[in-house]
Subunit: 425 residues, 2 copies
């Protein structure tokens, strides 16, 4: 299980400023400013309406329901100075329109991000069909670092920044849905408990310098680099205090909402615990009662015994199609060792190894389907509740309809046992 | 507000068996059989894991996690005897494979429907691209009633069944995800608290006899007929006792998961309260505290005052893009008068009128986009909690990615105020 020491030592990321240089906006002290301080107490540890029942949630909803509109402004001066086709010119910043904000559904209590700047054009879809940009034009390729906003973090041997030589690189999202500062403190007057500036982090992680191959095709080392970058950013955001939960995802191909070909992940530093993780935290507490380990340790043990839903396994991890998979070929990768937080995982080679195996299974078994993956991990702070981090992969083979979207009831047309048989080596 | 009496009296549906003839499988007594009775107690009033915390949910999850597999069988004899391209031949029944079953996620406590019979072919997507079948081949068109399974219910002037002359017609879904009986009681032995036969109803409502125009284009009368059929089926399933919640949806165009051109809705009689409605019920209880009416009555009043998010309004109803819309152009149609259940609504002309207005806005403003709509109403039985039924419409302009699917955090790129301006007349 001690696989971490096989990683090339010279590539290990450090937390020193020289190798992981925060962008200007990220070292701002705004996280502790009065406007932010005013915002923070509004966010409970979870955003479920259920939780607010005993906290005066109703009063907040009622008083906070503000049908007036904020005259939103942009603050180009505090943003990305870089130029280039993908970076933000002042004109592009102006085009972005209003800053994103959070709005709370008064019935369910859930937060929605209104990012109107992403949809200025009529009919503009959030995610354009994926752009298969030739690598000589790709702003994510090495040598074109000046075409992106200044990097937030990069793994490279030199102390320079925004130059080639990196193995993984993080930049601010050009169309952020969560921003590190709120425009003009004056606008804050229109905010309310049900309407907040969308403060947080919205970053793009460029998984690999290679334009047309994801890390798991480039090899074990590159996959480990990508995972280290995930951890690096989570640890950095934990120290920033403002972010409550870090959600890291990858959208693979246009059918899964990817817009650029060059392999990249996205990171969202959220000021609340997302509903799905909130429900999982409640579920772990409930379902782990009376078990020797947590409910996920129990699942791992039972899946291993049953074997029929196991897709891949190695010393440190097991991948399986869960018994109650919501969609065809849904796959979870779970560390065997009980571990609450992904960023504490030292067995990254083992993790990378099983990711490679599962991705090969998807490519071979389902002809390179679009998919999304995300990491479910413990919130950055707070008391310790039962949890067991894991990665979830959802191939996108079907179109959800009114049953899924309107009732949150999922219909899976491929039994997980059949799915595992098809995906397994 | 008394608009209902403008409906042509000769077209009013009656609950008499001659005009609304239940199909054979629907009058079966299986709902009270021992196998069903064994199942029922496992379903709480809601399926949220949170609710089970004090009900021994952990013990159920642990003991009920059954990695063994049911040897599933089909029971063609009890199914649809009709023939025709869309109906179920015995061969087609055999091809359907295993009966659908419910499986519970041991962590969140939510139920998933495993309907492996819908995905027999490799890569078979749940929803094929919409089939623009010419009307001379369409099994939903009048004159081809023998090509569907026998109707569950139809509105026509004669006492005959499965013949032309109907204004709206309900048939069993050819690929049901919830079935009215479980195959072979013996198979029940493998079921457990976390694995149940998917008992319930899965029906197709043919909204209009006209092949290529939805009811709101055919006119007010036809839209009223469709809405009456929705009510009719809810009332019928309420009397059947087995179903806990009726979810009625419409998927419009292939981009919203529709598979057949002829305008049709779908009905799902669920044996549990779906998570979204469960969350709303909790939310209404929380957010209505201290308000003069319910939280929805409060929203209606405030939206009307603010006007900027209102899309349409008439005597009985208001349509608006909610303050915390999850997706661009999300629209809710809400009765002004406080009413818990949709099936109790007598103002169907007023409802039909605003549906027509909103649909015209979508067609003109967004160039006939794919969309889903669904009705959120109160569960069929149980104590009375605060609720206010409504219809939700979700145009499908964007592809959800890993933030939406993996965290249930929604990013809306069009501010609801802009959306309402575009959709409004």
């Amino acid at each position: 299980m001690k696989t971490a020491n096989r990683v090339r030592p010279e590539k290990r990321p450090a937390l020193s400023p020289s190798r992981c240089r925060p962008a200007t906006s990220r070292v701002s002290n705004r996280g502790l400013s009065s406007s932010t301080a005013n915002v923070s107490p509004s966010f409970p540890s979870g955003n479920s309406g259920r939780k607010n029942l005993t906290r005066g949630g109703a009063a907040r909803c009622s008083s906070g329901y503000t049908p007036t509109r904020v005259a939103a402004t942009t603050s180009p001066g505090t943003r990305t100075p870089a130029s280039g086709p993908w970076s933000l010119s002042p004109a592009a910043v102006a085009e972005q329109g209003p800053q994103p904000e959070l709005r709370r559904n008064p019935i369910t209590g859930e937060w929605v991000i209104i990012a109107a700047g992403r949809g200025r054009r009529p009919h503009a879809p959030d995610r354009m069909p994926q752009k298969d940009q030739p690598d000589h034009e790709c702003p994510f390729c090495p040598g074109r670092e000046d075409q992106t906003p200044p990097e937030v973090c990069a793994f490279r041997d030199s102390d320079e920044s925004d130059c080639p030589g990196w193995s993984a690189r993080t930049i601010p999202n050009r169309f952020p849905i969560l921003v590190s500062d709120a425009p003009g403190a004056g606008a804050g007057a229109a905010y309310s408990p049900d309407r907040q500036p969308a403060l947080g982090a919205s970053e793009v992680i460029i998984d690999t310098p290679v334009h047309d191959k994801p890390p798991w095709e480039v090899g074990l080392d590159q996959t480990v680099e990508m995972l280290k970058m995930y951890q690096e950013r989570i640890v950095a955001l934990r120290e920033e205090k403002r972010t409550t939960y870090v959600h890291i995802i990858r959208n693979h191909l246009a059918g899964a909402a990817s817009s650029l070909e060059h392999p990249h992940s996205q990171l969202f530093g959220l000021p609340f615990i997302p509903p799905t993780v909130d429900a999982e935290l409640d579920g772990f507490a409930r379902a782990s009662l009376g078990l020797p380990g947590c409910v996920m340790c129990d699942m791992v043990e039972r899946e291993e015994e049953a074997t029929e839903r196991v897709v891949a396994a190695n010393d440190g991890f097991i991948a399986f199609c869960p018994f109650a998979s919501r969609l065809p070929y849904e796959t979870w990768i779970v560390p065997r060792r009980h571990q609450v937080r992904f960023e504490d995982c030292a067995e990254l080679e083992s993790f990378a190894g099983i990711i490679i195996q599962v991705m090969r299974g998807l490519k071979d078994g389902l002809d390179n389907p679009p998919f999304n993956y995300w990491i479910h991990t413990y919130p950055l702070r707070g008391e310790t509740r039962p949890y067991h981090w894991h990665l979830e992969i959802l191939p996108r083979l079907t179109v959800p309809g009114g049953l899924e979207l309107g009732a949150d009831v999922w219909v899976n047309i491929v039994a997980p046992e059949e799915a595992a048989a098809r995906l397994g080596a």
